[in-house]
Symmetry: C2
Subunit: 327 residues, 2 copies
Amino acid sequence: MARVTLTRGPFDESVHEGLVAVWRHGDGLVEAWGDPARTVLPRSSVKMIQALPLIESGAAEAAGLEARHLALACASHQGAPAHTSLVREWLGAEGLAEADMRCGAHWPQDRATSNALVRSDGRPDQTHNNCSGKHAGFLTLNRRLGGGTEYVEPDHPVQRAVRAAFEEVTEEDSPGYGIDGCSAPNFAASLEGIARAMAGFAAAADGVGSGARAEAQARLVHAMMAHPLLVAGEGRCCTELMEAAKGRAAVKTGAEGVFVAIIPEKRLGIALKVKDGATRAAEALIAALLVRYGILDAADPAARRRMAPVMTNWRGIETGTARVSLT
Amino acid sequence: MARVTLTRGPFDESVHEGLVAVWRHGDGLVEAWGDPARTVLPRSSVKMIQALPLIESGAAEAAGLEARHLALACASHQGAPAHTSLVREWLGAEGLAEADMRCGAHWPQDRATSNALVRSDGRPDQTHNNCSGKHAGFLTLNRRLGGGTEYVEPDHPVQRAVRAAFEEVTEEDSPGYGIDGCSAPNFAASLEGIARAMAGFAAAADGVGSGARAEAQARLVHAMMAHPLLVAGEGRCCTELMEAAKGRAAVKTGAEGVFVAIIPEKRLGIALKVKDGATRAAEALIAALLVRYGILDAADPAARRRMAPVMTNWRGIETGTARVSLT
């Protein structure tokens, strides 16, 4: 079982259990903890899959999108100016506006941005939504496909294209979807199906294969690795782990305790789900797996901060830590 | 097993498991889910125990404390003006100041208060700490006991008095402590020991027993039930459930998925711990248990909001719900 235990003083205080599937392209399932056939909702961890039709349709090329736009399309960002300004610039260049988005607004996680909004009596808009880059991608794809304005409807051409790509790379018929925080359908798959998809991205980024699919996969992985700050933001797990990995892995979190990793040099894809949905445990596990597969050193500060954090209280007094076990 | 399952569309997305112990004063363990002998850190759920020495020492009477002060001593509040102004008034009347506190400062959970601080370029102080009422109580007790300034040290007279009361009402020798978010030691006990302690509070509030201990227990339970808003705050689970219970139960949350209930009319004490520490699951379970023991109707809005919430996304679209099972 994959387990993350939180301690306080001499006591184990809380315990998280995780499911993990590790897939090697061309070989199959390498390792698993828990049942890799379990159906999961991958949430934001599969934004690089949701971005495939944007490239494969020719929409990205027509819109002149660069690596930074593609990284943002794969992002769960914290709504800092670096993120929102790029979304606005992108939409503007396409003759689109914030009002065309269907992700909804929420307060940005970036504290400085949030405080600036409070001070100016402002309100967040849809560009602050952590998924706004994905939605800019959906809108750009929609211009190419000529669909209606409600591009998050499950039977809209945009989402039909996303579902087709999702089923192709997971090599499964999706059993259905849930509606995500950003209103887009989030298609379900087995955990190993998601790991298999990530292994496909890894192989493509390592130069395996050719054609539109492999090219799109490679571009997205390299875009994420080249722009860690755009994929999440300062202090965030995805950003810090990708910066520490120095171009050797792309990682992506999803709500409710999901995390994936793409390791091109080993053609490995990792997918994990914490049963109870806890982000803190998903972050600890993905860091431990990057160490296990030789991408990060166990002493790497970014890895340690997630795997074995020194937990402190409001006066800075150390109260406990966490430990990961993969047994 | 006590279980809370979160759904999204047709899928079970995340699952929490809980341990529950229900104790009836004079009878013993009534029901349990999971191992009731498991050692847990009760965190803020036992603030009414930590407040016993404040009353039993005579300190509360000497300071002229009323029910509202006692409710605040048992609170994990959200730092709204109702909470912070009472703490300041209390400290001031004792010739004490915010600087005498040792809980540390954190941003108040109350959004309006937090935003007002941001707008005025202010910073939270220790009165905003959710435990500031408990610390006002510790400081008041300390004046009576004549201890040094570092009243959160585990061997300080204040914490020795707390430990003695804790071991007496749980009827266990505590195996030790962890340091809490507010820097006070948090003594461990078995889950059933905590339920037993809560049953003692329930019986005392129902008029069972006499003497300083029973009087103090009854005063604290009645203070919590009389001032639900002081115990937590607007929109918070403890407040809403106690308002719905209309004086028939006191409930209190603790960090890392702990919750207790005191039901005087049945002389019942309930203690629960969600294994992974999730607050959302602890809230769902305590609401379900209040329904199970006849305190709340299953259709009560406050109970339903925790047990079977309608979960919506950033555009207000319904995405899922939760279900509690006690099997």
